[in-house]
Amino acid sequence: MVETSAWIFFLSAVLATYVWRFAAVMISHRIEANHPIFEWFTCLAYGIIAALVARTLILPTGLLALLPLWHRLIPMALAFLGFYLLGKRLWVGIVFGETGLIALMLLNELL
């Protein structure tokens, strides 16, 4: 019984995600490829993903919530600095951010 309900919940979550993709393909088949509306869609996607990133950072759930806010924001700022000042290399940004995170955690333990 518990098993069945777990699967119903799971499959509903699967459908609740796929329905967006499905609807989008259906709509896209009815619009011309170079229609300006596609630029609007991309803007929407950027806005949503940005909100997601900011939410994960500022109002996190789970493990990240264990860290104080400045503990998340400073490493993020470091990642951006490393990325944009040193030739826009992704791994440089990531190394900067993660190093900042680890350094702050170590510092916190010492103090």
């Binding site: 119903i8 989008a24 596609f38 940005a50 789970g62």
Partner: protein
């Protein structure tokens, strides 16, 4: 990008480009998800299927979270739908990449399932540099590599949850906002950048206002604003260039 003469070569190019930061990201993010699912009592089997069948981390997390809390089915459906609604505009904006490809249009329903922030931004960036008839093969190679890395991540996160030091888990979890923050802000198109910046500012307060639809509302407001201002932005930028 090199001329990709055959489909197998395009698949290989996709795999090669995914192996590296994109696969690492999926591995790290899904490790976090695996640990979380284990903690909340989801079975290992379902946790791995979740990555394959939902393929959208925020929705996966909401599903596990609400299910673990014993929330009603309708809350799970709306919560997941809200968290993963970005796939609608993302899929819509990516479909033109495949327009000149010779494949049967029905395949698009499958290709759409493979879209994630990772694969989407890769195709928007690299897609136009690839011959139109090789894009689908490239996308499949790239996406399946990312998905495989994600499944391995879930497995190891689920199994190693208790023995993994918290510092390591935190590094994995923190990688996600860093990676997406960097790749999304790194766009040369002014309206996209504006949508991104406004989304970062408006996202958290909107989440406090409505946890389920905060993301969607933020996207609608900031994306539409950026889209409406796109000509003004262009004029502004041109002026700057004239002055400088």
């Amino acid at each position: 990008m090199k001329e990709l003469k055959t489909n197998p070569r395009a698949v290989l190019a996709g795999i090669r480009n995914a192996l590296g930061v994109p696969a690492l990201l999926l591995f790290a993010a899904m490790t976090g998800f695996g640990s979380f699912a284990q903690e909340q009592g989801l079975s290992l089997y379902m946790s791995m299927l979740s990555t394959i069948l939902i393929w959208g981390l925020p929705g996966q997390v909401v599903h596990v979270e609400l299910y673990g809390m014993g929330a009603p089915l309708i809350a799970v459906v709306l919560g997941v739908a809200g968290a993963n609604a970005r796939f609608m505009p993302m899929t819509l904006s990516m479909m033109p990449v495949f327009d000149d490809s010779p494949h049967n249009r029905r395949w698009n329903y499958f290709l759409a399932h493979l879209i994630s922030i990772n694969t989407w931004s890769e195709m928007l960036k690299t897609g136009p540099e690839i011959r139109a008839d090789r894009r689908m093969a490239y996308f499949l190679g790239f996406s399946f590599t990312c998905m495989t890395a994600g499944i391995i991540g879930v497995l190891q996160g689920y199994i190693l949850f208790e023995s993994m030091p918290q510092t390591v888990s935190l590094c994995f979890v923190f990688l996600v906002p860093v990676y997406f923050g960097l790749i999304m802000s790194n766009t040369v198109h002014p309206p996209f950048l504006l949508a991104f910046v406004l989304g970062c500012v408006l996202g958290p307060p909107m989440h406090l206002l409505t946890a389920e639809w905060g993301l969607v509302l933020t996207g609608l407001i900031t994306g539409t604003l950026a889209y409406l201002l796109r000509h003004k932005l262009q004029v502004l930028l041109n002026k700057k260039e004239d002055n400088g």
